[in-house]
Symmetry: D2
Subunit: 258 residues, 4 copies
């Protein structure tokens, strides 16, 4: 089911969040506590923003805990905004192409959850894509497709609207095929300045999502990275989270399938 962490605020060395906490994301790659799967070792990825508008990315198929490159990059690189993801595959191959975050232009995207019965829905959903977005497909995950659907639905113009349209598009496809299992989506999206979060499931029981305000920064993550859990707030199911200039707004998300 994957685990992820997103950060925006004052510039920090990334290992302060990814390695140093006692229940850090890298330790969650081997031993997540709030996840359906405790092992998230089917690759990982990191996107971070620096001076340029577009993010840098690093994707690898090793378990995060054993990759020395990731450790060195995290220890030596400062960023004011970054997204990190450890993957537990729900079916698709372990390859760099299938590792989050997915990026385009200034945008970074990562996802925890799944589109149910994806084999029955994939072709139909991919046909919603215009050719320019269709050709960006590199792998076979439902997650990358969600990102391309967001782009198709106007992410670059109106992110909130694109999120609504994309969730509805997936729910409609599920409805048309009489699929019973729920669509689950815990999403982080960033343009390098703000972070948008989604905690959603068709059945109202999405994966966990938490955020924490720190001095000059906000972290949003699948689960708290410290054992104490001090200061972490639970995002309610069916919520849209908007993190801007250090403030966090959580609003109910209402998705219809018709």
């Amino acid at each position: 089911m994957c685990r992820w962490l997103s950060y925006v605020g004052k510039s920090v060395f990334m290992d302060e969040l990814l390695y140093q906490p006692d229940h850090s994301l890298v330790s969650q790659s081997k031993d997540a506590t709030k996840a359906v799967t405790t092992v998230n070792a089917d690759g990982f990825g990191l996107s971070w923003y620096g001076e340029k508008a577009s993010p840098a990315t690093y994707h690898e198929i090793l378990p995060a805990w054993s990759d020395k490159n990731l450790k060195s990059i995290a220890e030596h690189t400062r960023s004011h905004c970054f997204l990190a993801h450890v993957r537990a595959s729900t079916g698709a191959t372990t390859s760099r192409e299938n590792c989050h975050p997915f990026t385009w232009s200034k945008w970074s995207f990562m996802h925890n959850g799944q589109i149910p019965s994806f084999d029955r829905l994939r072709m139909g959903l991919e046909q919603h894509l215009d050719e320019n977005w269709y050709l960006l497909r590199r792998g076979t995950t439902d997650s990358e497709l969600l990102f391309l659907l967001l782009l198709q639905n106007g992410l670059d113009q109106n992110p909130q609207q694109a999120i609504y349209r994309t969730l509805e598009m997936v729910e409609q496809a599920i409805s048309l095929k009489d699929i019973d299992e729920p669509f689950k989506a815990c999403i982080a999206l960033s343009d390098g300045k703000n972070i948008l979060g989604v905690r959603y499931s068709s059945d109202g029981k999405p994966p966990t999502l938490f955020y924490k305000k720190k001095s000059g920064a906000v972290v949003m993550a699948s689960e708290p990275y410290d054992e104490s859990r001090a200061g972490w707030k639970n995002v309610p199911p069916q919520s849209l989270v908007e993190i801007t200039d250090g403030s966090v707004s959580v609003t109910p998300l209402s998705v219809s399938d018709s």
Copy 2:
């Protein structure tokens, strides 16, 4: 442009063909002589047939010359029929998913050449695929798509017809988009008993293709694997090669684009 070798006949340890010759396929991965690109180091792959109807496969993103697993497998595994490929990317990522041979059921396929202006043709050609074939797509190469089009066009029922239909389908797509560059396809296809070869280019100038009869076996390859070149026969451009029970039949291939 890639290099490949196919073998069918009496059972041999695969390294006899892949490593031992003085201009072996593995040495061609670093230093091909008859190719547009001399370095073929964007991954490699091997499919081989044993007791089962379906082939075993091994794909890796390292250059073939430095992979110890390949060497050990080739030294210790006998096969009566195998396909081996070293890749030089014409654009798509270096990933296992993009490494030949591609396989389905009893079939193995590999390719040297390219569909021109593939970004303009990819989406249209993929839409020719029925959902069962469409969902087999794992990577982003033109080569994997050619294999899926062959399956769509009845490879399992009538291979020769499937080859004609597929070449025509690609030529028609090129023609519709007014693309000037030629479609190039040197293909090996096997069901574990017979090997089919294609040497084709829209402009009549396909990549090289050679075959050689050995005692109890036939080899077909992009270029001879020995410096002496003794016994190697050149396959003429625009040919279909059929290797069955030790005999080789070469017939002209006539493809129309309308």
Copy 3:
């Protein structure tokens, strides 16, 4: 702490043991039940014997559960004798060079356990090696060093004696440095015909080791590969196991450190 499985007897497709059982070695790579570490995802390896005296080997740094090459090789390759290992690092890097089984000539070796305070013992133990064995060192694990010490101590001439000498050599080194933690070694060794097993710990509490007689074959493994556990016998601590021609002999192992 690693998990491993060894097999000798009638020729079988390796996936019958490595994948098909409900608690197979590959499933143990994610979820071992009798181990200190439940995740064994720091690489894996396989050595198998066929027609040649030396074994074929396959080593990879991916978790075993996500490697398609391993699955295809195991499904298509028969062997009468093979060793398979999934690794949980006790410190050394995740690299192919650090993956078991280690091999030389006809010999294969794999290990679960550890030499305690290895940084304090490594240099001294490596200086016991003659240059011909010293130069075979490829990685940095205590396990590879144990194999080289076995070779140094005459594995090829008298395997049982080499095992005694090697365990004693390590115990002496530990004793000289006043190291308190125990040396733990569950070892499988094969020449392609017979398998030798060791279940040993300085403190009499070694990792688990089991064997099972099947029709025409014997399996020895870190833990049973089926949930039912029917037919599996526990190897007592401080034992030497000798599997020859389908019979299993278990004898007490008495190691002195002086």
Copy 4:
């Protein structure tokens, strides 16, 4: 024989030197012109200095030209001092552990050349190492050993003296074993502020080495990274290069073997 590039001066995005020039280091990985081997695809590595005293490192076994992580890191990361290396193995395995630059504390080191008949010299040279340096050995290359010998010989106290002592130590070992082939060493060493270069060979015919002064910076490399070659100066054989505060000093290097 490897190719490398080192840079020190005003902070730049690393891709300006590694990718953008028409004969960049990354293009040299496929097509070096002044090297014994034209293909340098047995892994690569990068170390760069930022705010911390120690360098960040990135090592990978893919050919440099096909690694998207390297491209993204180079495009988005500024550094005032970095070392980059593309490897052509002279025997040792393709593994991350065998990729340059090797680092310790603030030091980075990379090498083009080789210790001749290394199998005959390796054990003796490794025995010159004190245990603290011996235990840093991760791979099996002659290059990593040269770096450890430099540390053993006081790199951190007196780099120039450590270079002399190390070259002499290797020459003495060669002399003792009556080895005829030359020791070749083009070396770059950095502490994050200055760069030291060595162009040396026992026979006075070392691999090429060039440097170029740019506005506010100096580059030293195995070969010029632009076709025009404007401004590049050839370092004479048997030279020590010291790059400090934008100035370059080249002094003759006189090594005795007794």
